[in-house]
Symmetry: D2
Subunit: 264 residues, 4 copies
């Protein structure tokens, strides 16, 4: 438990009658019109504006995470909205609740693995990345753990987002030890297992997050914020082309058929 | 209830082994690196990329909604994270659940009022905006309803975000009938009531959303997506400078004092 | 907005080193072992223990609301749990988010209608219930509104829960003006519309809630608390017999087929 | 990932035009009026009605978990309701999101520890409980882990709920190896650490859950369902005696004072 404190404080921002300050900047005059939404997300996490290059790379990873079709979280948002159309916010919230260890958590897992293999204070100092990759894969195999960020049920042999994200990072000076290490880990994992194990988008993003030096406990948050955007789009489509009712009726009918009175 | 359908469909996107398409564009090559996060949010709602001018204005309104200090939703996210630090996504979700009719709903309320007063098919055709404003205020006063988007407990006589947002809209060709109408409604409401009633940020954003022609049922969604970004920042600060525990202990102690054994 | 207050207070309960008091009773010695979970729910809403008869009726309505098969909220809980199995609480929370105006809200709607037609201070005083029912149905028809609590897509001509709940209420002295009024409204609605319109379970429960005199703004809460119990059962079944993955894969495949590359 | 399946199935229940079956029983005639809400919760988890003795014990543990004053989850529900009073369900959902590893998770932790120390198939067969307790405490001390279910910031030297719950379990034939083991672990932990470490309510409930043989992955669910009931009570009180606004204003003012313009 945290300690008691005399006074609570926050460095994020404050407002008075005529001023609103966020991260040390005047919101109306220094932020609005000067930064895009991805830059603002960057500021929320780092407390500073991104450089132009950081902005391009960070926006690319955030944009990647917005949308990926009819995911479970999109189904959840649509099913929830059907029951409570007066609460769009709760439908988005419900959809976010499932962004846990199984899906978006793999992004965090990739970052944790990379930070553990190459602590931030050793990055960029000529570590033997090939040896680290070999050891990392060997450790995972000994512990019978899967390597976070590798493999994809649909996108093989390559997840098409990964080379593009790595290219954008390289074009903007953000491809350094962690992306190289992730690539070496992938090669090692493929040769050790004999399986096709592409670096998936969450693995690529996890590696880029390490290049940025983002704290690992917040990395899942990028997936959460981006998906909130995606879910608003699904809810809008649901108002025009509803599918939740159909999904529900089919499930109910099928269970009546398999598990109902006639089934026994 | 919606009708049953033979097949469910979605226009948002799909993916195959080597392709991911979103809103008719190839995600890796046509979206990543080409649009920022705000543009992607615009695409989720309109199905198309914004123009350069639309991008500036839309990003400005989205950025405005990200952060406003220790709001109830920020307190909720922090208190939730204290109990379930393994579920960052659920802390964000909890924080979003309160973005309902009282706070973010006022943005939707302003848009609904403006669309009702000046239906989209009559905008830009020389309607008598002053007369519409007069009627709108008179109707609200007769029904004893407050005018959505006017007034602010802290920011008076001017909400500093409003003139800046209207300036950005004007600079980018998006200040037309709805912003003019909002301003006329404000003047009319002030003179009718004798009170200081600034157009607050949600009123300004509601008017700009009408200039964009966004459907009113999705407008609350911009507040929800932007606040998801803001809440991730609050959770990160909570990991470093926790305040939730202090807020809880104080509440518990005060209720023990006012309502506990010694109080009766 | 509420007024500021010097001190916050709460009448629900407090605890000291050796005592825990809830609703004026000592939790360990006066509540535990003496009341069941439904009685405790009754206490949370009324601040007092139910009588024996109230206990039977209240538990019956709460039990009714626990489970109704593969509802959208059950699907949501299961889909959420698939992504975040470490957060059972968030899966339940997501499932609850959809208990809004469309489904559980109809219970609240029935109570609101009955309280509006026969205000609590006029109940039990010989009002002309048949005339009130006639007027209520006529008003709904004139406004082209459906009558809350009538009709069911599956359960016709009778919702089997309704006669049983009304019987339990009658057996325990809780069948008075509001249940009678609900039945008269149903007869009137059927004869006016020529349709089969059974009192559904939410209509029956709404009427019984009026017999109890529960405040209308909390009635939806009974559905929420009961469904939380139901959802825990669905999540447990999902751990043993998962269906969420199958529901997701089918939706994704169907949308790929109807809306993907081959469909255009 | 789970395997694909031809058909989805569920053993929880189904409904046809004139029947509703839950856990193999006819809901109207065999459940309503015959079981209380706690029994229904028991059925959701076990698939069968409890015996009379099981009913008393299970209801007692569920009732214990309903209410404990102004907890973080109660604060969250109240703050959320202030912003979205139209969505009572979302306020409850938000409050549940924080019932994670820190608070309610300790109940699950105690059960996991007890099941690991004494696997279900060895319970009741004369295991040397004192030796197991010694080993368990030694293992926790070696790993520098706290023992789940011991210690309480307020309730010392005894959590008043624990002896009462253990008494109810004993009176109903449900005090066997696991409660005895929990008590031995507590004694061992106190003597090894020299600290006062009462078995807290979640420790007591975790032990009783093991006596019932409940699967450990669902135990947190009892806390979630019970708290849903408690939160409805807090929301009702918030409608009558609002405290959320005051909590928010104080936090905002304090941060303005400590971290705002005058503070630097």
């Amino acid at each position: 438990m945290p300690k008691r404190k005399d006074k609570i404080t926050s460095d994020i921002g404050w407002s008075t009658a005529d001023r609103i300050q966020v991260h040390g900047l005047d919101l109306p005059s220094e932020i609005l019109g000067h930064v895009n939404l991805g830059d603002m997300a960057f500021m929320q996490v780092t407390g500073r504006k991104p450089t132009e290059q950081e902005s391009v790379v960070f926006n690319a990873i955030a944009v990647t995470l917005v949308e990926h079709g009819i995911t479970p979280s999109a189904m959840v948002a649509r099913l929830t909205y059907m029951g409570a159309p007066e609460s769009l916010q709760a439908a988005v919230a419900a959809g976010l609740c499932g962004l846990g260890s199984v899906f978006v958590g793999s992004m965090e897992g990739a970052s944790r693995m990379l930070y553990a293999a190459l602590p931030p204070d050793q990055a960029g100092k000529g570590a033997d990345l090939a040896a680290i990759a070999k050891q990392t894969v060997a450790d995972h195999r000994a512990a019978r753990q899967i390597v976070s960020g590798l493999g994809h049920p649909v996108h093989k042999p390559v997840d098409p987002r990964t080379p593009r994200l790595f290219q954008i990072a390289a074009d903007n000076g953000l491809s350094r030890d962690y992306i190289a290490l992730m690539q070496l880990i992938q090669q090692e994992a493929e040769s050790a297992s004999g399986k096709v194990l592409p670096i998936n988008a969450t693995g690529a993003i996890g590696a880029i997050c390490c290049e940025f030096g983002f704290p690992q406990e917040i990395i899942r948050g990028f997936g959460v914020m981006a998906r909130a955007i995606g879910l608003v789009g699904h809810i809008l489509e649901e108002t025009r082309n509803p599918i939740a009712f159909e999904l529900w009726q089919r499930a109910e009918e099928e269970i009546l058929e398999t598990s109902g009175p006639g089934s026994q």
